[in-house]
């Protein structure tokens, strides 16, 4: 008894602490929602067994989108600092590593960490104004940044050598991108960093290697971001979202935490972006930033909202829903009579409608709705009345973000009067 109370106050011996950790990690004893999460992860692992290599592009893209979503969630979902142009970080990471490879002959194994680092610096540069700019202004900055970046790609199409420093002597490549970077994985003789088997077997192995590398990265990012957001830093992030003044009143430097969230998010996004261009994506503004230089950023927000903002796990669920909705709608062979438009051609409208429906009816996202419904079902199976559970007060994470936004907007308007 005494040992247990000691462990609760953190005075337990090392053995007990280890035991507690192992107990938490034991799939049999962990709560149902974690077990479902593990099952989901297992499904991710086993997914390729049901697919041909030519079908692996979609799932690999899905995993990358999930990572991008998590990267957005840690700064926007947690601290409420809304970023509308998060693909900026993916592009900085991707382009850095691609240009180092193509124009300086630096292997992706070195280029990827440098891309990640540079994206982190990008996060710092955007995070700094975030300390001074409130809601709508910060959003505007983040919205503009990827568009500026895209213009720079075109402006320095043929060469970027400021003060004679050959940053990109052959240029950033304009709309078509800087070229085709070395692949991390490829068939035998392809010149990839890791050359696999030859022929069809090589194609299979390349598809698998790309997928499992992305999946490994997703799990790593998930663990890191869960660890950070479930630590005391995560509590401060949430507190910033809820009431910044309260954070300051508690003697905490909110600015430092905001900056940390931005840099952490940028580093994750930059790392994924860099891995992306060396696995399945050719670097180009359309490829990375998306349609009109903004589509990827919007997709990432939709994914996070669908899954559940401020949860880290939500974007993974959101990405799955995003992909599944796209597949289902694409497969519907039906033409809407009066307007004479095929349902499949309506993409991505139904998805946007779904995101709006989630915003209105389940602002906590699918994850929170799922957990709550599950608890209700379990309680009813036990013959108990469900009275809400732990963590459900966070149902309004998106509501809090919007409320924070509204408050800041109101303050700005009041200042102008």
């Amino acid at each position: 008894m005494s040992t247990e109370s000691e462990s609760l106050v953190g005075g337990a011996s090392q053995t007990e602490r280890r035991q507690a950790v192992l107990r938490k990690l034991n799939p049999i004893t962990m709560p149902l929602r974690y077990q479902i999460g593990l099952l989901g992860l297992l499904l991710f692992v086993l997914l390729p067994t049901q697919l041909f290599p030519d079908q692996m592009g979609g799932p690999t893209t899905l995993v990358f989108l999930a990572i991008f979503g998590m990267s957005w969630d840690v700064v926007s979902g947690y601290t409420g600092q809304l970023s509308f142009g998060h693909a900026f970080f993916f592009a900085v990471g991707g382009y850095t590593s691609a240009i180092l490879d193509l124009q300086h002959g630096i292997t992706p194994l070195v280029g990827i960490p440098i891309g990640m680092l540079l994206a982190g610096i990008g996060g710092l540069l955007i995070g700094l104004p975030a300390l001074r700019l409130r809601g709508p202004y910060l959003s505007l900055v983040t919205l503009i940044v990827p568009i500026i970046l895209s213009k720079l790609f075109t402006l320095f199409n043929n060469g970027l050598t400021p003060l004679g420093i050959p940053i990109a002597p052959q240029g950033l490549g304009g709309r078509n991108g800087p070229g085709l970077p070395t692949q991390l994985f490829g068939i035998d003789g392809s010149g990839a960093v890791f050359e696999l088997a030859s022929g069809y077997e090589g194609i299979q192995q390349t598809a698998l290697a790309n997928y499992y590398t992305a999946l490994g990265l997703m799990v790593l990012v998930l663990i890191v971001l869960l660890a950070v957001t479930r630590s005391s830093a995560g509590s401060v992030f949430t507190a910033i979202r809820e009431d910044e003044d309260a954070v300051a009143a508690a003697g905490l430097d909110g600015a430092k935490f905001k900056l940390f969230a931005f840099v952490l998010s940028a580093v994750v996004g930059g790392l994924a972006g860099a891995m992306w261009v060396h696995t399945i994506k050719s670097p180009s503004p359309l490829g990375i930033l998306g349609q009109d230089d903004i589509q990827t950023s919007i997709d990432v927000i939709i994914i996070s909202i669908l899954g559940g903002t401020g949860t880290i796990v939500g974007p993974i669920i959101g990405a799955v829903l995003f992909a599944v909705t796209g597949l289902v709608i694409g497969a519907i062979d039906f033409t809407i009579p009066v307007v004479n438009v095929a349902v499949a051609d309506l993409r991505p409208l139904p998805l946007l409608a779904a995101a709006m429906a989630v915003l209105v009816f389940a602002p906590g996202g699918v994850l929170r709705v799922g957990i709550r419904t599950g608890r209700r079902v379990l309680a009813s199976a036990r013959g108990e009345e469900y009275e809400g559970g732990p963590g459900e007060d966070e149902d309004s994470a998106l509501g809090q973000i919007i409320e924070k936004y509204r408050t800041e907007l109101r303050e700005i308007i009041n200042e102008r009067r």
């Binding site: 067994t49 041909f52 290599p53 079908q55 078509n176 070229g179 010149g191 194609i203 994506k281």
Partner: protein, 481 residues
């Protein structure tokens, strides 16, 4: 005691955890993609018939085979560029299956049946890659044709390399793919472009056009408005360097925003500058510009690179406001780029009740050039099997295709060319392309619809250049000659 039980619990927990972790790891190791069975057809159902012009039985060493070819088009059901690509693929395949390869005869490619498979890139690089992989690995396509955006072409390069699949681009003008083929030939020799000629050559063709025609048509003063989108950069760059050497005056030289909807301020500027011609390059903003130019009876002519004007339905879309607008194009429903062009246009119109955009005729040529190269290679090397893709690269590099409908002669540039595997092009005057198309009214051709006539170059001219009747020209102006 408590510690003992704690240890025991820890061990059991660890064991249990390790057991599950091990199961997960084993599952991961066991996981692997499924393997595709190679698609193979059995060729034509009936035996070969038909002969060639000399009356001798055409050779059919590839009988019994089926060759699948893929089309990678953006929205092949609804978008004119994509529709033209897929429709033209169907026509080319049907003709080859029925009459054999041009000049050889028989059925199919020396007896081998062609089967077209459609892919929809949705003009997105990611989708283009997924569709390419599907066409090649699932559908068993030996080669693919198409891609409208250069980003889409580049996105499929690594898959082209992995699967050693020839892809022939037919609608994207960006020069980068050909540059990569030159620089990394062994990796990416699989890529060819049947057209359009690359954007640097297109920009040179525009200068050549101005050089020859500006004086003849009365364009002393030319205002240049180029839409600010990247594919038009080569035009803006080259015009900025050289246009002032060609015409007497360039009072306005601007990049217009790709979001321009109200053209009045820019048109006011052009008009007050006294420019004879507003030389435009417009892709996204062309429709609004044409409507406003016509409705406001602007005192200058307009044309250049006007993408919407290349679409046959444009006349209807702007209710004829595009009359007198001219644009660079690869081919028009009226031109006779080669003796076969008009035949193709008529058959296309009869079958699909419209005319194709440039991407259609280019794709049609690409499929036929590929078929001819394969047939030629098989005959020259006395083969009785379908050549490997490696051999098809050699064949495409080696042979010249002279049965085209866009270019009289399709020959790909060699690996050592700066832009390798691009269509060889020297000048507009020599090759006859690009053509300069102008929307005109010609009652002899169409009673109640505009006609896409061509006024330049000379060998592809189908009509004289026409001037807007609302402009008051001086008596010595070419318009009054």
């Amino acid at each position: 005691m408590a510690e003992e039980s704690g240890d025991a619990g820890g061990n059991s927990g660890r064991r249990s955890f390790l057991k599950y972790a091990g199961a997960g790891g084993a599952a991961a190791l066991a996981a692997g993609c499924k393997t595709r069975d190679r698609q193979s057809g059995s060729g034509f159902e009936n035996t070969a018939d038909g002969g060639n012009e000399s009356g001798t039985e055409p050779p059919q060493p590839l009988s019994g085979n089926t060759i699948r070819i893929g089309s990678l088009a953006p929205q092949p059901d609804s978008f004119p560029i994509g529709q033209s690509m897929w429709n033209s693929t169907l026509m080319a395949v049907e003709e080859i299956n029925q009459n054999g390869v041009p000049g050889i005869g028989g059925r199919g490619i020396l007896g081998a049946k062609l089967e077209p498979v459609s892919g929809n890139t949705e003009a997105s690089p990611g989708t283009a890659l997924e569709e390419f992989d599907r066409l090649v690995q699932k559908e068993g396509c030996k080669t693919t044709f198409g891609t409208f955006l250069t980003q889409c072409t580049l996105q499929i390069f690594n898959s082209m390399k992995a699967t050693e699949t020839v892809h022939i681009t037919t609608a994207a003008a960006g020069p980068k793919p050909a540059r990569i083929v030159h620089e990394r030939y062994d990796e990416f020799k699989w890529h060819f472009r049947a057209g359009p000629i690359n954007s640097y050559d297109l920009a040179r063709a525009e200068l050549e056009f101005l050089d020859i025609y500006a004086d003849q048509l009365g364009w002393d003063s030319v205002a240049v408005l180029t839409e600010n989108i990247a594919p038009l950069d080569p035009f803006a760059e080259l015009l900025d360097e050289s246009v002032r050497d060609i015409v007497s005056e360039v009072p306005v030289f601007k990049r217009s925003s790709s979001g321009t909807t109200n053209w009045t301020p820019l048109f006011d500027e052009v008009e007050s500058s006294g420019a004879d011609l507003n030389l435009v390059a417009q892709a996204l903003t062309g429709t609004a510009a044409v409507k406003q130019w016509s409705n406001q009876n602007r005192q200058f002519e307009m044309g250049g690179i006007h993408v919407p004007s290349q679409v046959y339905e444009f006349w209807e879309e702007v209710s004829g406001a595009c009359e007198h607008i001219f644009t660079m194009n690869a081919v028009t429903p009226q031109t006779t780029n080669t003796p076969r062009t008009q035949d193709f246009m008529k058959r296309y119109q009869k079958r699909f009740d419209t005319f194709p955009v440039y991407s259609g005729p280019i794709q049609y040529d690409a499929v036929r050039a590929y078929a001819q190269a394969m047939a030629q290679w098989v005959l020259d090397n006395d083969l009785e099997e379908i050549p490997s893709n490696e051999d098809m690269v050699k064949a495409l590099e080696k042979y010249k295709f002279t049965e085209g409908i866009v270019l009289p002669e399709v020959k790909f540039t060699p690996p050592e060319a700066d832009y390798a595997h691009d269509p060889q092009w020297t000048s507009m005057k020599e090759t006859g392309v690009p053509v300069w198309q102008q929307w005109q009214i010609d009652r002899e051709v169409a009673e109640d619809y505009g006609v896409m006539h061509s006024f330049a170059p000379e060998q592809n001219k189908t009509s004289d250049y026409t001037y807007p009747d609302w402009i008051d020209y001086p008596s010595d102006h070419p318009a009054n000659q």
